[in-house]
Symmetry: C2
């Protein structure tokens, strides 16, 4: 994850290879979106700015490297040169494109005005354009995904996207439901965030091992890793939405409260607070939420230990993610994946 | 096209086979959308009501039949039984699902409240839900499309969807542009409507001939047929939006005017009217458009012969569509396709 990781010396070779691969992912991404219509290209240039951590392509490339038996150190990775084949690059671009589509549509849903420090498409050009632009991204992703010569990647990406949309629908359905429980919350996260991240990892591994190796232990392992990491990532996002500053996070904050979405810290609080404190919280989070209310929300969450519980839960998920990597061969690929899992909960944006 | 065609006796056998196939398309459609989440299923049941003419699945099935040399009459069609294989049914369901997704998203864009005589998803449940439901339909379509055992259908459908979205973006870009010319208008139609209809036809033909037969003359012919028919279909839609009654058309009318979309009759009028009449028209179509203004618009369009010119253009496109069928073997499949082309401009809904 670009700009988030502190890389130890023995992994700097892998980091460099990853950097090269991500440049190629960006190129594949842009080439796929290129249109013969100038207004379409103008729009696509706008969303280039959304490009942030490139989490999904990074995972696709690194999982592709980490499942190899013959990549024991950064030097051998370099000797291979082609750790990231055209297939890995394409898989990364497809997953990033699907993700970008959800960002554009999410911003419509959330009425968000800022994304990666720039104005959102919906704020700048209206919801209509943002809806169609998201559709353009999804279609382009599937078009790119059909270039693998096998329908397996399309099935995996299609399945992950369907699960993701079902998760969004479930989330909308449970909105403003003050009795939302932990298990439904995790169900939403598993679908909304974890499915596509897990798919990115699996695809990356299969680009190395072959698309007929869906049942390989290593494919299953990186899929599990990705899903744990995805849930931890989303919990961290939820924390940042509650506690972050817009200028640091780089996107609109406190949107969850404004849209009546209960996240882990609040669910924990409501389940553990005394009835009176619970009632007070439900009044505090009723939109619109003022700066003063947000401050009171945060101290109430501290009083029930809900912020700590949230951080602990995210940390436990990161441990599970790292544990899933156990079946992979030792080496810089696996170490880098482990490092990325740590970075997910350390990040402030 | 269900409920639109007047079928001559010698085609009743084909019609029956088509009816059977469409029932299977509906089943495949519903099975693919089936979710383990009850709120998702509730929503999908709502959009079942959107199912209307089933134009795209009908074309996929009929084009699949019409490219066969061995289907010279309805009797031999019946003898085959399997004119519509599982692949044809799947191709039909995929195209209908992509189309349905665009309907759901279009209703968000158009702020439409009525679709197929029922409330739209956006009117009933809000824009957010409609955006995600559309995404769920698109993803499900691609998931289904990956079951062909070859990535060719995914590439064709992905390409058609991308072109379609680019057409929508172009249309949004040209909105409220009073000098929109005929060629840009047709460019929009070719992308927005014709591409997916053409793809439905090509897919249907390839389900019969094989997915390695993309360059077959018959595949190209039905693709051309579908694109001409698609443009004619959209022109007829534009006419109905101007002249139709909501109770007959079954969806919100006069939405094009309200959203500042210039369609063929208006483009023709503005290009042919005297400057004074032109200025009057531009004032009349400025939203909101009252019933009285709509009446004046229609009589002004008659004065420049624009309604007649529109009908003639649609009829010419239908002739081109039928001409494209010339390379196909004679028989009930081809006759039925020809009849469907006629029905497109005869329809009042």
């Amino acid at each position: 994850m670009r700009g988030v990781l502190d890389i130890p010396a023995h992994l700097s070779g892998v980091q460099e290879l990853l950097g090269d691969a991500l440049v190629r992912v960006e190129r594949a991404f842009d080439e796929q979106l290129e249109s013969d219509l100038p207004p379409v290209n103008d729009l696509c240039r706008h969303i280039e700015r959304y490009r942030g951590k490139m989490l999904r392509p990074s995972l696709a490339v690194l999982c592709g490297a980490a499942v190899r038996d013959d990549l024991s150190d950064a030097l051998s990775a370099r000797a291979f040169g082609a750790v990231a084949t055209e297939a890995h690059v394409r898989a990364g671009a497809v997953c990033e494109m699907v993700h970008m589509a959800t960002l554009v549509h999410d911003d419509v849903l959330d009425e968000a005005e800022i994304r990666r420090r720039g104005a959102t498409v919906n704020a700048l050009r209206g919801n209509e354009l943002a809806v169609i632009l998201g559709d353009y991204l999804i279609s382009s992703a599937y078009e790119l995904c059909s270039q693998f010569g096998t329908p397996v990647p399309a099935r995996i990406v299609g399945r992950a996207s369907t699960v993701m949309c079902a998760g969004e629908l479930l989330q909308l359905h449970t909105r403003e439901n003050a009795s939302l429980d932990e298990s439904t919350y995790f169900e939403i996260l598993e679908r909304k965030t974890a499915a596509l991240i897990g798919a990115s990892c699996e695809l990356g591994a299969m680009c190395t091992l072959g698309f007929d190796q869906e049942d390989d232990d290593r494919v299953a392992a990186v899929g599990r890793y990705g899903r744990f990491l995805g849930i931890a990532f989303q919990i961290q996002d939820d924390l940042l939405d509650l506690t972050g500053e817009e200028s640091v996070v780089g996107k609109s904050v406190r949107k969850d409260l404004e849209k009546g979405k209960l996240t882990f810290p609040l669910i924990h609080h409501l389940a553990n607070a005394e009835p009176e404190a619970r009632g007070r919280m439900l009044r505090l989070i009723r939109p619109p939420v003022s700066d003063e209310s947000a401050r009171l929300v945060r101290s109430a969450l501290d009083a029930t230990g809900s912020m700590t519980a949230t951080r602990e839960r995210a940390a436990a998920l990161v441990e599970s993610a790292k544990k899933a990597l156990g079946v992979l061969p030792e080496g810089p690929g696996r170490d880098m994946l482990s490092l990325m899992a740590d970075a997910v909960v350390a990040r402030s944006h």
